[in-house]
C-alpha cells in the first residue's frame, strides 16, 4: 500500500499544452507539498497546503495552480507548458506543518517525470 502516490509517473507532452499531476496520501496527514527537482538536481518547494489551506506559495509562475479537493489529495495543474517546466515533480505529506522532528517528517511520493518537447 503506497503511502504517497502520484500519477502519472511519466508525462511527455508538447509545449503549450495543459496537464495535471495527481497526488494522493493515505496516511491521514494534514499537510501536503509540491516540490520541483530541476536539471541541476535541486529540490525546491513550490507549494504547501495545510488542511486544504495554502501555506507556502513560492515564486512559481501562475501557470502552476495547486488544487486540494480534500486533505488526502493535492493536484498540480500546469497551463501552457514550457520547455523549462521539464523536471521531476515530487509530492509529499506530513502529519502537521513540518517543524523538523522525526515525528513530523515529510513522506515523499515517487515523483512524476515531466518532459516538455
Amino acid at each position: 500500500d503506497t503511502a504517497v502516490s502520484q500519477t502519472p509517473k511519466y508525462l511527455v507532452t508538447q509545449m503549450g499544452n495543459d496537464k495535471s499531476i495527481k497526488c494522493e496520501q493515505n496516511l491521514g496527514h494534514d499537510t501536503m507539498y509540491w516540490y520541483k527537482q530541476d536539471s541541476k538536481k535541486f529540490l525546491k518547494i513550490m507549494f504547501s497546503y495545510n488542511n486544504k489551506e495554502l501555506i507556502i506559495n513560492e515564486t512559481v509562475p501562475n501557470r502552476f495552480s495547486p488544487k486540494s479537493p480534500d486533505k488526502a489529495h493535492l493536484n498540480l495543474h500546469i497551463n501552457s507548458l514550457e520547455l523549462g517546466d521539464s523536471a521531476v515533480y515530487f509530492c509529499a505529506s506530513s502529519p502537521v506543518l513540518f517543524t523538523g522532528t522525526k515525528q513530523e517528517t515529510q513522506y515523499f511520493g515517487p515523483g512524476t517525470r515531466l518532459l516538455v518537447l
Binding site: 535541486f42 518547494i45 507556502i56 522525526k102 515523499f108 515523483g111
Partner: protein
C-alpha cells in the same frame, strides 16, 4: 542563491568503513537540519535531523554533527553498507514557515 551547499557530487567508500558526507549553509536562521536518502525512481526518505541548538544527534549507524560557528554539518555512516549506496540530500528548515531548503545532493557508492 544557494543557502545549502553540498560541494562534493560523489563519494566512494569501502564496505565497513566510515562515510562522511558534508554540507554547508549560509542562513543562520535555520532551525533544523536534515538528511534525506534517495534511491533512483523513488522519492527522498527522511534519515536523521538535528536541531540548531544541538551539536550531535545519533540514530543507529547514522550520526549528524552540527558546527554552527562554521555553518557546517556532516553525516557519518558507520559502518557503511552496500545498501547505503544512494543520493543523500542535506536540507535545512526554518520552522516559522515549514520551508525546507535542499542541497543538490551527493551520490554515495559503497563498494563491497
Amino acid at each position: 542563491d544557494q543557502q545549502v551547499k553540498q560541494n562534493s557530487p560523489s563519494l566512494s567508500v569501502q564496505e565497513g568503513r566510515i562515510s562522511i558526507l558534508n554540507c554547508d549553509y549560509t542562513n543562520s536562521m535555520f532551525d533544523y537540519f536534515l538528511w534525506y536518502k534517495k534511491y533512483p525512481a523513488e522519492g527522498p526518505t527522511f534519515l536523521i535531523s538535528i536541531s540548531s541548538i544541538k551539536d550531535k544527534n545519533e540514530d543507529g549507524r547514522f550520526t549528524v554533527f552540527l558546527n554552527k560557528s562554521a555553518k557546517h554539518l556532516s553525516l557519518h555512516i558507520v559502518p557503511s553498507q552496500p545498501g547505503d549506496s544512494a543520493v543523500y540530500f542535506c536540507a535545512a528548515l526554518r520552522g516559522a514557515n515549514s520551508k525546507l531548503t535542499f542541497g543538490k545532493g551527493i551520490t554515495l557508492s559503497v563498494r563491497p
